[in-house]
Structures are given as C-alpha cells and as structure tokens.
C-alpha cells in the first residue's frame, strides 16, 4: 500500500517532470545558513563558518542527486536521460546514424511488408462468426488440381446431406454496375441463398441474402454490396438500400450492405457485390442444369464440436446412400473437407512458398543490417573508450553504462522501426502487385503488424547494442585492455563478410535469372502490343448477336491510325488465367485436358507467331463454314507423330462433338511460364463459337501502344457504349509482371548486399585501425629493435587476413544456403553459376583487403620514437 502510494507519487513526478527543485534548493540553503549562523556565533569568521557548514552537510551534489531520485522514479528519469544522451551522441555522428537508421528501416520495413501480406493472405481468419467451423469442400481431385469445383446439380444433392450445419456455393464473376451513367466493373459473386448464414457474415445496413431469394430462377433480382464498394462507388449513400441498380443489363434491388470488413471468402480478392445463384442467367450464365460443368466452390459449416475428418466420412457415406438418386455424384469422388476459416485464398502453394522465401530473405536482410550496425557501433564505441573510461572513473555504475549503450541501440531501432513501418505499406502493395494476380489488398497497418514491428525493433535494438556492451565490459578506468586472441568484434566482422558475400552472390544469381528470363524467346513479339479486355456478355450480347459485335470491333479497330494489326483472343500469354478443354488424342484414344485459346482472325500475325504450315484464321471462318482449328508444333507431334497434321480431322470437345479440320500449324508459344517448355495447344476461331464471354483485344501499334488507348475507347464506344473496356495494359508489362517477384527479390538482396559490402569494408578498417592504435607502442619498440616494415605488416596483418579468410569461406557456404532459400524465387531455374561465385568473392576480397591495407600501411610508416611515446 505504502509502496504503491510512493510509486504513484513518484510516477507523477517522473512523467510530468515536475521536480520540485525550488523546494529542495531553498530547504538546503536554509540549512546551510542556519549552520553558518551558528558557526559564526561560535566565533568563526564568516568564510570559515560557511566552509564548516558545507563540510558538515556532506557531498552536496550527490545529496541533491539522491533527493531528485527520491522525488522521481529513478529508472524513468535515467531512461529519459539516457534517451536524451543517446540522441545527442547520435546527432554527433550523423553519418553513422544515417547509415544505421536507413539499413534498419529497410530491414524492418521489408519484414513488415512481407508480414502484412502473409498476415492478410495466410494468417488472418475471415471476419465472420466462429470462422473455425468453416470448411472448404473439395474432393480427391485436389491431389492434381489447385481447387476443384462442382456442378450445380451436384451441389443440389450435396446440400441435402445432413452432416454439416449448412453448405453454401459461390462463383466469382465480373459484373458491370451502372452508377450515374457510368459503367463500373465490379467483382461479383453468385452465391447460394444461404451463403451469408453459412459463412456467418452479417450486414451493416438492410438485410443479407436469404434462401428465399434463391428459389426460382430469375424471380428475385436482389443483391447485397460490400461496405468497401458502398463507400467507394456509392459514396456511402444511406438511401441506397432498397434502390434499384442496373447490373449488366438487368435491374437489381440492393437489399443490404455487408458488415464492415467482410468482403467475401477470398482474402486477396474482395467481393463487391453478391447476387443469388438463381439469377445467374440474368448475368449471362446458363449453368444451373449443367451436370458436367464444374464451376462452383462450396463451403460448409461444421456442427459445433465436430471434427472435419469425421464429417467428411459421414458425408461420403450419406452420398453413397443417395447414389441412386436422380443425379448421382460420380462414385469415384471422395469429398475432402479442408479448413475454411481463412476462406479460399488466391495464393497457390507455389506462391505461398515464394512468399515464405521472401520472408526468409527479408529476415536475413534484417539480421545482416543488425550485424552491420553492430560492427559499426563497435568501431565507434572503440573510439568512445576514453569517454566510457572517464564516465566510469567519475563514478558511473557499469550497469548504467550498459543501459546507456542499450538505449542507444533502442533509439536507433525505434527510428528505424518508425521509418520502416512508414515504408511497409507501399512495399506490401509493391509485393502484392508482383504476385501477378489481381489482389485488392488492404495494406494498412493493423495491430498485429504494429506489434510485429515493435517486437522486431526491440530485438534489433538489443542486437545492435550487444557488441558495444560486450566491448564496454572490458573498459576500466585503470584497467588496460588485455590482448585477446579472438574478440567478439572479430567474429562479427567475419560474420559480416560472410553474410555480405552470400547476399551478393544470391542477389547476382537472382539478377541473372531475371536476365536469362528476359532473353528467353517466348515465341511471340511482346513489343508495341496494346491489350484490353472487352465483356460483351455483360452488356447483354448473346450467341446470336455476338459475331456481329466482334466483326464490328475488328472493323473499327483496324481503322485506328497507328494500329498495324488487330485481333482477339480469349487468353493472353503469361497471364494468370488459362482455358483448358478435354480433347481426345486420335493416336492413343486418351482423354487430355489441353490448353485451348479462342482467337480472332490475324491473331498470329498480330502477335508475331510464325506459321509453320497451312493458314491463319480469317473472317470467313464463321459458324456456317467448315469447323477449323490451328495447332502448335508440340500438339502436332503428340497427336499426329510423323504425319502432316494439315487437313486432319478431330472431334471438338463441344456438345454434339462436331469434327473440325486442322487448318494450320504454328510455332510453340510459352503461354504458361517462361521457365517451362511450351505445352500442346489448340487455337479455335472466335467467330465459330457461340459464347459471348469476355475477350482480349490485341492491337499492334507502330509506335507507343499507349498512344492508342483513347482511340480504342472511342472506337468501342461507337459500337456500343455499354460494353466496358478494362484491364488495359501492354503485353510487355504483362511479361514484366511475370518476373516482377524475382526482380524484387533481386533488388532487395542486391541493395542489402551492396550496403553490406560497404559496411564490411568499414568494419574491417575499423577493427584493423583499432588493433594498430592499441599496439602502436608495441610497433614502435619492434621497429626500434630493427623490425622491418614487412615484419610489422605480418605481425598486425595476420589477424585481419584470418578474419577476411574465414568470412569469405563462410560466405561461400552461406551462398549455397541462400540460393536454396531463394530457389523458388528464381525463375529460369536455380543456377549455381561458378563465375558468379568467383567474381563476387573476388570483389569482396578486394574491398576487404583494401580496407585492411590502409591502417596496416599506416602502421608500417610509423616513426619508431613517436610510436614508443604514444599513449
């Protein structure tokens, strides 16, 4: 109780800084005066009286100090004092401070950025009630496919099972929303009526969707929008709920706004608008009765307290019993329930490991930054030995010095942490943009990120201060420094060289892999090619009108001045989405999923893909004319080995299985990944399909492709203002994003590598210069006794050479580990290029030897007499 009261009273003083100095001074002065007066009465002279009074009083400054300590909380006061002192010290050496803060900020920022992405995409559970009860329903196809989907009839059967507490289905699609005469492209989601109930998401206004909205096809044109979308597009209009909004070509009533923070189950890909599955036809799909089209993702909610494996077994048993039902699920399928509390993240396994590798890289960079600063600080603290010794001599406690050094480290780390967290958000956005998927990530700092940065900064601060503290322990006011075989500083400098070398080798390997990748021939010409996506289905085009539309588009775009060649395609090379169709190999009868691209006339000419034989598609390849297709060389080899494929017939994977004739063969193109070999590929004419799905227009410009954007917009508007044009970019940029991740990793490790290179130079210089200074007298004596310069250099140099040699060899070893770490980031394969190893080792050896040679040379030029007298 008493302690508590004292504590609070002191805390008040310590925090408000309201030390009652006046009271102390007046009281002490009064005391001295009374004593002096008494001494005078006792017959002393005034001066002597005062002197005696002061003597009797005791060490006045120390008493004042303990009086002040008594007033405030000593530890808080000391801390404040330490911080002030540290700040002054750091301001005195701005270069050191700048270097340290910058590298810490980079290290902490990079880690925080990766952490933001990891936390958002991989760790954070969905903002719904009891997210851990959610399961993601898939089946044994998960072994071979990233996320197998299901047909609506299958979902209808599955929904009748009683094991789970509800099963919801979803399908993501782009939707055009008409807002004040403008068309906004939104991320839509067709969902079953029980979606919100099953997921456990509420609304912030209006109501959510209910099973009643999802009964009869086309009967309930209602939609719920996300809070984000409501703010972004509708300016948080309170009167929106209940109003009608045009989606694609149909009017829907907005019945609610989803709860804040809930934006669907796909963390990186937020949903803007939810529409009942029963309205799928109005949004251009016709899949409710299609038993063979697998398009739906299914999520379920476990009954409280049940286990997902048991639940999966129970569902499979139930399905088995129903297998005689109207639309039996395929008996070979075994449902698998995966944890669904994080929803379905668009991060594939490959990206996940890439992200983890990036995390490891950032962690390595931060450790390196700490090592760098520690070694710099150690050099600096060596220069401050005298200051420390004086402070010890005038009575500072050793623990106080330690605290002082620790505070300096923490102040540096705090500065680094603040700047680091400032750059973390933009860095995270850059990271995400390199993931080559459309992720609309909320990259603001949250509490976990702030905690992470705080923790990291504290650790970094301690790490930075550790070495100076260790070396300060050996300082004494009267103690001479003993000669030690190996000091902590030697170890750190070795470590620094090693890490710098691994980082440099790793970085140059990454840079090389980007360069190799750039030089890979993708099979098409990416330069000057503008691409943009058009979605006629969203504007209400159906199978009957679509060809007229595409013809008009081709017609109009060809008129654009500066457009040398124009075409259409369903998929773009190296874009994340591909289309595959089930084809039957005529040679073996085997059924294969093969990449299939719907392309317009003059596609191969526009992309610069060489025709090997036959002809290109033309405007005359229409539905009425003979079905044709074009294959690539790989496919020709697989399907018709040793034969001329031109003129061969093959069954199309469409309903009715019509036969199409191979009209041409083209050179292989890398659609998937520049690293891989191009796979087999079918090209089918756009104008022979009945689909009105979105297509990408390709325009080859004679100059800057972006100069054509306006003309392109105007041309499309002339045809139909309701068809939205989106994802406008160039093929070159598309190509760039496909290795942006490797480039980022290369930049990150390169930047840290170069900083490490410079700093390890400084480290070696510092260690050696210090050794020379300490041994100046020793050197002088040796010289006086006739040692030659070479002897001196050897005597001092042996140590430095050993440090460098150990560092370099550890570095080479580390580089192997480092490349292992970043292997997933390296496209173009993991290349342990010997030349890189040798040249980087040579570079680092050169820099370290240079840094080492300067003080050694200075030592050999010492004047023997002056050196002996040196103290």
């Amino acid at each position: 109780m008493k302690l508590l009261r004292r504590f609070f009273r002191r805390l008040l003083v310590a925090t408000t800084g309201r030390h009652d100095e006046a009271r102390m001074r007046e009281e002490l002065e009064a005391h001295l005066e009374m004593q002096t007066a008494e001494n005078i009465r006792a017959g002393r002279s005034p001066e002597e009286a005062r002197r005696q009074a002061v003597l009797a009083f005791g060490p006045i400054e120390a008493i004042k100090g303990s009086y002040r300590d008594q007033q405030g909380l000593a530890i808080v006061d000391d801390f404040v004092q330490d911080v002030r002192y540290a700040w002054r010290q750091l301001r005195k050496s701005p270069l050191f401070t700048f270097t340290a803060v910058t590298s810490l900020a980079m290290g902490i920022g990079a880690n925080a950025a990766v952490f933001i992405v990891v936390e958002r995409l991989l760790l954070r559970p969905l903002p719904v009630s009891n997210p851990h009860e959610l399961v993601y329903v898939t089946d044994d196809r998960i072994l071979t496919q990233p996320s197998p989907r299901f047909s609506y009839p299958f979902y209808a059967v599955l929904r009748e099972t009683r094991t789970l507490n509800g099963l919801a289905a979803r399908f993501a699609l782009g939707v055009n929303v008409a807002v004040n005469d403008q068309i906004v492209r939104a991320n839509g989601e067709l969902v079953s009526g029980n979606y919100f109930d099953v997921i456990g998401a509420g609304t912030s206004a209006g109501r959510s969707l209910s099973p009643l909205d999802d009964t009869a096809p086309g009967a309930h044109p209602v939609a719920v929008i996300s809070e984000r979308f409501w703010r972004r597009v509708f300016a948080a209009d309170r009167a929106l709920v209940g109003r009608s909004v045009r989606l694609n070509e149909h009017d829907f009533t907005i019945v609610g706004v989803a709860a804040e923070g809930f934006s669907g189950i796909s963390a990186g890909n937020p949903t803007d608008i939810w529409i009942p599955l029963a309205m799928q036809r109005e949004l251009g799909r016709g899949l409710l009765t299609e038993a063979r089209t697998n398009w739906l993702e299914i999520l379920g909610r476990l009954r409280p307290g049940t286990d997902r494996h048991q639940a999966a077994d129970a569902i499979n048993r139930e399905l088995q019993q129903r297998a005689s039902g109207p639309s039996p699920p395929s008996p070979t399928r075994l449902l698998v329930l995966l944890p669904g509390h994080r929803g379905s993240s668009p991060m594939g396994e490959e990206r996940r490991t890439a992200l983890m590798a990036l995390f490891a890289l950032a962690g390595f960079a931060l450790v390196l930054a700490c090592v760098n600063i520690a070694s710099l600080a150690a050099v600096r603290s060596a220069a401050r030995e005298k200051e420390m010794a004086i402070r010890l001599a005038i009575g500072a406690y050793r623990s106080r010095l330690t605290r002082q050094l620790l505070t300096e480290g923490l102040v540096l780390a705090a500065l680094g942490g603040v700047i680091g967290s400032l750059i973390a958000s933009p860095l995270a956005r850059a990271l995400v943009s390199a993931q080559s998927i459309t992720i609309d990530l909320d990259s603001s700092l949250g509490l976990p990120v702030v905690l992470f940065v705080f923790l990291l900064s504290v650790l970094a601060g301690i790490a930075v201060a550790l070495l100076p503290i260790l070396s300060s322990r050996r300082i004494g006011p009267l103690r001479r420094r003993r000669f030690r075989r190996v000091t902590a500083q030697d170890v750190v400098v070795s470590l620094q060289i090693a890490m710098a070398l691994s980082m440099l080798i790793g970085a140059s390997l990454l840079v090389q892999s980007v360069r190799t990748l750039r030089s890979v021939d993708p099979g098409f010409r990416a330069d000057n090619l503008l691409i943009a996506r058009l979605d006629p289905k969203a504007a209400g085009y159906d199978s009957n009108r679509i060809n007229r539309f595409w013809n008009a588009v081709l017609e109009e775009l060809t008129q654009i001045p500066g457009a040398r060649s124009v075409s259409l395609a369903g998929t773009v090379p190296l874009a994340p989405t591909r289309q595959r169709q089930p084809w039957v190999n005529p040679a073996s009868g085997e059924k294969l999923e093969i990449d299939t691209n719907y392309v317009g006339p003059a596609y191969f000419q526009t992309l610069g893909i060489p025709l090997v034989g036959g002809r290109e598609f033309t405007k005359d390849d229409r539905r009425e004319s003979r079905m044709v297709l074009i294959v690539n060389e790989h496919l020709a080899r697989t399907f018709w080995p040793g034969q001329d494929p031109i003129g061969k017939g093959i069954r199309l994977p469409d309903s009715g299985k019509p036969i199409a004739e191979v009209a041409g063969v083209v050179r292989d193109v890398k659609y998937r990944d520049l690293r891989d070999e191009a796979g087999p590929m079918f090209y089918r004419p756009v104008l022979q399909t009945h689909s009105s799905d979105a297509m990408t227009v390709h325009l080859r410009a004679s100059g800057d492709p972006y100069a054509l954007v306006n003309a392109l917009r105007l041309a499309i508007q002339r045809i139909d203002r309701n068809v939205p044009l989106f994802q406008i970019t160039t093929l070159e940029e598309q190509l760039d994003t496909s290795f942006a991740q490797t480039r980022q990793a290369a930049m990150l490790s390169g930047a840290f590598g170069v900083i490490a290179l410079l700093l390890s130079g400084i480290g070696i210089y510092g260690v050696t210069a210090l050794a020379v200074r300490r041994r100046t007298r020793d050197i002088g004596i040796r010289m006086a006794l006739g040692a030659r310069r070479g002897d001196i250099a050897r005597a001092i140099g042996a140590r430095g050479i050993a440090i460098i040699a150990i560092g370099l060899s550890l570095g080479v070893l580390g580089a192997f580990g480092f490349t292992e770490l970043t292997a997933t980031l390296m496209q173009g394969g993991k290349a342990l290029d010997a030349r890189t190893f040798v040249s980087m080792t040579a570079l680092l050896a050169f820099v370290s030897l240079l840094a080492f040679a300067i003080p050694v040379r200075a030592a050999t030029r010492l004047d023997a007499l002056a050196a002996i007298r040196h103290e």
Partner: protein, 115 residues
Amino acid sequence: MRRKKDVQQGSLALMVLKTLDVLGPQHGYGLAKRIEQISGDVLSVNQGTLYPLLLKLEQDGAITSQWGPSDNNRRARFYRVTAAGRRQLQAERRSWEETMALVGRFFEVKAEDVP
C-alpha cells in the same frame, strides 16, 4: 582516534520519527542538531543525507511538512509526525525491543547454561 559509527538508513528514519514525536515540529536543521545531541556525537551524519530521507518519509505518509518561519525569521520547512508515522514508530519500537531482548539473551548465555 575514536571512530564514529555509520548510521544505517533504517535507524536514522526511526530517530527522525522519534525526535519529531517527542519534540514536535522541527525543521531539517533542527532535526540534524537534535539527533547529533541525543546521540552524543557518537553517530556522525552527513547532515545533508537527512533531506532525501525526509522526502521519503513524507511520501510514505509518516510525516507531513509545511513552510514556516524559523528562529532567525527565515522560511524553513517544518516537519511533523502523522498518526500513521506514530503507528509506524510504535511498531518499529516493539520489533526493536524484541530484537534487543533476543540478542540480549544470547549475550547473557554462558557456556554452563547450555545443557
């Protein structure tokens, strides 16, 4: 030369409390003098060390202080023991007496007393 004994903080606090209790409100200088007198110069105190101690006792609530005129009409800080201070003094005194009695018995013990 007779060496003066160092005064331990704890016993100094007790002396302060006792002095204030017996003599009533005192300023710092007065207290220092009284303690010197009572201890008969056996105990040497750096007079100044009294002040941090007074502050501590005040924070503990054992004494209170206020400004008042000193004998030579200077402003001085006068300290007075509080009820809590008296209770503390009594408690300390009891424990002191018990300790003394205990230690005393040990000094009284002679070898033949131990069975």
